[in-house]
Symmetry: C2
Subunit: 517 residues, 2 copies
């Protein structure tokens, strides 16, 4: 785990070429942020206990469907009450509690660039970019289905911003690559255009196994070395209510077997796939999550898992999902309490249900981020670029979100508080008729005294208007294009690159993965 801020590595330059200042030279350095604040906890200890107890009752009396033969067999061997006809599994509460004891409270994930190691758990927090959007949008080209070019562009932004700590699922689905081989090209792009911790989808055996093999190659590890440490992660969603699907369970078990992290994220929309009450939706989220955690601890005791929380509400007029609502904020904070009750890292999201990078998108995102971070989320998905309930990745929103993420990180830094910081000498020097611009106290500190934004325009109205009265989304449009222009891929050993390319070529020749999942 990397503590504190790190110096950015010197950029490689062609000999004789002058150093030009880049747009992101002033961003916050790479760092592992940590919460200074205690989390907001809307539930009493009794209420946390009540959700726990009711979840166990759901697992004991109703059960969870596991649509996966291997999972059913494992759980039968573990002594659970398995019905192979309905595929329903009922769990004894003592079993669930024992399994939970095996999961680590905190762990690190090490990508191919060890300097970009991250930690999940405790007070550490991390952001990942928008994932799994079928569409991409920007103000020049509008909304369109994703392709590899857009996919790569979003990876480049994810690499360029230090406030993006891990590379989550595909930021946009590159639909111009055939589904059978898409994962090969996509993981190759992730491993070459970024050097951060990557995610792989759990969509059947081949995809997750290929991804693990490529991450192993990318880091130059033996099988044993790969399995002895967490290098990557997968995410699975339950098929709420009360059901886990085959391909996700398969991928999760394969990742767990090899010691890689699994984020278990029930998608419990209150009023649709879960009870309309927050207490009920969180109870269901909890039951679905605990059942899968129990399974994965049976697959490998100590498997690194993350308590995923994706509870939100629907618009009761239309049934449309809503995000960044007061319900969402509370669901995030309540989920944090449950995760801490189980001593597990937890995952939240920066979500919204808006169709453009406009004011609604920003307040929904700001509230979502507030819910997740004030709730102490360790892993925050979709932190940059998510729009439209996840149906679009927005280039401009990506830039805007990164400005917000940086500010959230910065606000958790220590507040300088020496005797001299209290400023008596400065006040005495300046007195009632002066100002502090020229004071020694100011001059010795001003360069690093305050957060320096990337996108904000703080000029007065007249100067702003003279410069074209550019609104923030248009500035974000110019920003993302400049960042893409300036992008340089992180260094990668050419032998490793060749090995990755050879692996992709071989697996493409073999036909990749089945597409009938």
């Amino acid at each position: 785990m990397v503590d504190g801020e790190q110096k950015r590595p010197a950029r490689r330059r062609k000999s004789g070429q002058k150093s030009a200042k880049k747009l992101l030279d002033d961003q916050l350095g790479w760092q592992q942020p940590r919460y200074a604040d205690n989390p907001i906890e809307p539930l009493s200890a009794d209420q946390v206990e009540a959700i726990h107890e009711m979840s166990l009752r759901v697992l004991e009396e109703i059960g969870i469907l596991f649509l996966n033969e291997e999972a059913l067999k494992i759980l039968q061997q573990e002594g659970c009450d398995v019905d192979f006809t309905t595929q329903n599994v009922k769990f004894d509460r003592a079993y669930i509690e024992a399994q939970l004891q095996k999961a680590p409270a905190q762990f690190t994930l090490t990508p191919r660039n060890k300097e970009k190691q991250i930690a999940w758990g405790g007070r550490d927090f991390t952001f990942g970019q928008v994932a799994s959007a079928p569409n991409v949008m920007d103000l020049d080209n509008g909304r369109r289905v994703g392709d590899r070019k857009a996919y790569q562009d979003l990876l480049k932004l994810s690499q360029a911003y230090n406030c993006i700590h891990f590379i989550s699922g595909y930021p946009v689905e590159p639909l111009d690559i055939h589904a059978s081989v898409r994962h090969l090209h996509c993981i190759y792009d992730k491993l070459t255009l970024t050097d951060k911790v990557v995610h792989a989808y759990s969509l059947g055996a081949e995809r997750i196994e290929d991804a693990m093999e490529m991450v192993r190659i990318g880091s130059g590890l033996t099988d044993d070395e790969f399995e002895s440490q967490v290098h990557m992660f997968t995410n699975i969603n339950s098929s709420s209510p009360l059901k886990h699907d085959w391909p996700m369970l398969d991928g999760a078990m394969r990742a767990a077997k090899r010691g890689q992290a699994v984020v278990i994220s029930p998608f419990t929309l209150a009023g649709a796939m879960a009870p309309v009450t927050l207490a009920g939706a969180i109870t269901q989220q909890n039951a679905e999550g605990l059942a899968c955690i129990a399974l994965l601890q049976a697959v490998r005791a100590g498997a690194p898992v993350v308590y995923g929380a994706f509870t939100s509400n629907v618009d009761m007029k239309s049934g449309a999902p809503a995000f960044g609502t007061p319900e969402y904020v509370r669901a995030m904070q309540m989920s944090g309490q449950m995760a801490r009750f189980y001593k597990l890292p937890w995952r939240g999201s920066n979500a919204n249900a808006t169709n453009a990078p406009d004011a609604q998108a920003i307040w929904e995102s700001a509230f979502s981020l507030q819910g997740a971070t004030s709730g102490g989320a360790n892993v925050i998905y979709h932190a940059a670029g998510w729009l439209e309930g996840g149906l679009s990745a927005s280039m401009e929103k990506f830039v805007i979100d990164c400005e917000m993420l940086q500010q959230i990180i910065y606000a958790q830094k220590d507040i300088p508080f020496t005797e001299d910081d209290l400023g008596f000498a400065a006040m005495e020097e300046v007195g009632p008729h002066g100002h502090f611009f020229g004071a020694d106290h100011t001059q010795s500190r001003y360069k690093d005294a305050f957060y320096s934004p990337l996108l904000s325009d703080w000029r007065n109205f007249e100067s702003w208007e003279e410069a074209g009265a550019v609104w923030t989304h248009d500035r974000a449009n110019a920003h993302f294009k400049q960042i893409l222009n300036e992008f340089e891929a992180p260094a990668l050993d050419s032998a490793i690159d060749e090995e990755l390319q050879a692996f992709v070529a071989k697996r493409v020749a073999e036909g990749g993965a089945p597409t009938d999942f």
Copy 2:
């Protein structure tokens, strides 16, 4: 103080006219919100103590300038170390501490409509609209200097939204009314277009005395009745560093004498009028505030005062004020700790430094609101419509802010948590193959289960696009015009109205107030 939500009064209709649903019929009811969450406290108890101690040292060793003869005389009578040449006053720490004991921790303010009574202190919180902007802007007419029409329009919005609890300073300065009589027409408009608690400026004797007289008339009170309860408030800013100006001190003392509330808000921009460190800027804010609170408690023991916090930072590149920054968030939360240390209600703001109602304005506002509310602010100024560091009132931003304010209020409501809310029966009924839309558990709750937004568009992209792909700021533009169209002034006894008009006419005939302050 009004607890919980109240039914909106039936609207008056012309006989035979059909009731038409208005845009704001679905807004949250009038209520006194209360924080469910504990405040975020970045400072340790020792650090709070250190700021307190250092502030007292500033007051003892450096002192504060009081540019007001009467204030100097009072403080001399109180035994303070007054220098009438420099107008500097040094305070003994025991005196400050004794004076602080006299100020109430919590009080109510009762406007002419007693149903709109509000409470300041403890866990109660309230929002007031943008105040003191010289300009107004909307998307149809752009930015222009304020006039009475715009002033009245902003008052109407302030009255229409239940999430605006008090009418702060002039939302925009009506420059088409001569400064000598502006306060008379403005207070008249406040008292007739709204029925909420109003503010009056402290700009010399006549303005505040006229305002108090008009509020007394508006509520139909005798002098004794007026003075026995808090009905209105004024706000004063120190002339940082370490200085209180004549007209503000004069107004504050006059309000205190008559038992009306005074909000004391040092304007301590770190790096400009205060030390560049947050610890130093808060220390200075604290010293300036405590000195004035001590004076007002000498004027009238038990005078209702509010600890005002307006510490933010400047952009060190340009010297321009910045708001909604990480420093601002922390300054708000730190101020909350100081106010609670002194057992005083405290004031924060929803501030930003943006020139248009765009993404930056929203994230700066969202962070400002988060700082103020997570810090437990009781009185939140500029909560709706502030743009451009206070130089403009924006009609669209007003609407957008009210959506955010409603969500903040709603998120602090109790989370339903009965046994039935935990949803076991619903999960059992729905099972793993159903959904919860039709469940009894949902049907019996869905109408009030979730926050219902006024401005959000949650339609899917295709429907949104078909309907014209309207961005939020354009929806806000349509909203504010519709709300103004639908506006009905609150009921006012015609005898009181006549008395107010007569008072205004008399004072206008007398020439109003001097303009050479």
